[in-house]
Symmetry: C2
Amino acid sequence: MPDTLTISLDAMGGDHGPDVVLGGARVVLERKPHLRFEVFGEEDAVMPVLESLPDVNAASTFHNCETSVAMDEKPSQALRRGRKKSGMWKALEAVKEGQADVCVSAGNTGALMAMSKFCLRTQPGITRPSMAAIWPTLVGESIVLDVGANVGADADQLLEFAVAGAAMARALFDLDRPSVGLLNIGVEEVKGQEAVREAGTMLRQANFSNLDYRGFVEGDELGKGGVDVVVTEGFSGNIALKTAEGTAKQIAAYLRAAMERTLFARLGYLLAKQAFNQLREKMDPRRSNGAVMLGLNGVVIKSHGSTDAEGFAAAIEVGHDMAANGLLSKIERDLESFSEIRLNLEPAT
Amino acid sequence: MPDTLTISLDAMGGDHGPDVVLGGARVVLERKPHLRFEVFGEEDAVMPVLESLPDVNAASTFHNCETSVAMDEKPSQALRRGRKKSGMWKALEAVKEGQADVCVSAGNTGALMAMSKFCLRTQPGITRPSMAAIWPTLVGESIVLDVGANVGADADQLLEFAVAGAAMARALFDLDRPSVGLLNIGVEEVKGQEAVREAGTMLRQANFSNLDYRGFVEGDELGKGGVDVVVTEGFSGNIALKTAEGTAKQIAAYLRAAMERTLFARLGYLLAKQAFNQLREKMDPRRSNGAVMLGLNGVVIKSHGSTDAEGFAAAIEVGHDMAANGLLSKIERDLESFSEIRLNLEPAT
């Protein structure tokens, strides 16, 4: 009965606060009417919106919080000021204490990462949590991690990311043995990739039953979707994610300009409007909204701060699927099997 | 009289060898009829093509070489096997010895980097050469470096990249004081960005007369073209470049599929065909073909291995512009002024 899950919502997070967060809850309720929400935020801002949405109100328990994390607040400051009393913290705490199955926030990314680590702590066997994005590809969707929770990663950490990402792929895409690639650059023998090469050797030797390691992939493979999970450290992962978003916007702008240039182009656009709408839908960043914080004792979803209700609803649904399909226990079991495997691994060459 | 420059060509490099290399020379000669070529390669493969192109033949001096670097050869192996005798090496040597102003190769990237360093050596003040790509943006073109000559970079090296990239922007875009940004990720206080932050502090303090430092940029800024030069270490730079290429191909595939789906869409496509052609031209990777190896005692251009004659011609023209506009002396002068400035810099915080 996955539809009876409870989602805790940081109602004050994001560029548009309660309007988008609760609007997103309304959208999801249409598809999953048995969901419950624990809503955290400042009463003055949240209650008017909640009362304007009777369905959401009926499915929610509201908790007044005395402060909120600002979108531009430094993580350390947010932690100092908002720990134990901000809506973001309280929403995470609800997961920690078992009142909610998933926490979803569109708030300050750095603060959410810091608070998540502090409040929920990492799962056994995980050194550092990571952030995983759902990446639209030519053949469907892939998972890419880490997209910015950390800068740099050693071989052990890359391997943890691989295990966590594969568990997420199994929970989200319903796969038995997702394919996994390590992001690398094509130039051979460039110094500095030791961690990536070592992680590759370990993944190959470990021969996981739940993860099909396929070797290195380059940046241009991301859009093709040749593997289900692409693993990299957070600096390059974040840059890849943002670069793809920027390129998509750039091409959309070229396309708009081209279609407005001549009368024939405008007529052609009108005739092909339905096709353009399908294209727009494919390129809609809201469809793949919702990065998952992996490696914590709880499911935490980070929505884009600038998304709308549709986009926020997508983030809630990602969280729902993660919790309903037992993401945490999948990661935990795989990491256990890995620590057994690890004892038998030869030293990487 | 920049048109009298001499270009040395590694005729055996690339997926298509002499056909594309000499075909590219033919295209360039139409626009710059006074160019001269020093052509290096294996006689059996090169001469038939050269003889089939009388204009190119008349502008060229051919040098038979006993071996060629394979596209999949490891750099160390290529260096061992092809040093002093491969077409790639000989083409670089022609620049070293002043017989040519620029070397252009579509060959094995790793081998070209290794041979360039070995043959030409780095300029005074440069620790490591870098590879700079020309990046199409919404407002024109930017320069992005390093796109894969190295993995990782400390603050000093990032600063060298900034100086070299700005000199390239001055040579290529005819700017007095190009704007420069450091690629970074948006999340504040993530550990590991020390080198990027330190480079930012140094660039701000140095206050170069030839370089306008604008702070950090994220991956989604690349396509916007907000700065003329974007600086990063080679791992993330290569991944950004390949990710953008992959995303462009992905969207082109979506667009093709959408335009073929219905009769109306096909009719619309026909009407708007001219606009689509303009779009295709904008997205044509051949237009921005030609990465520049910066920091060497000589101008070396790396063309995409899979390009055609038009694309290779673009790479030759990039090389021509670099040499004609005094790239090397610009970099050298800026690095000199930097070493003076460096003495007065406060320790980075």
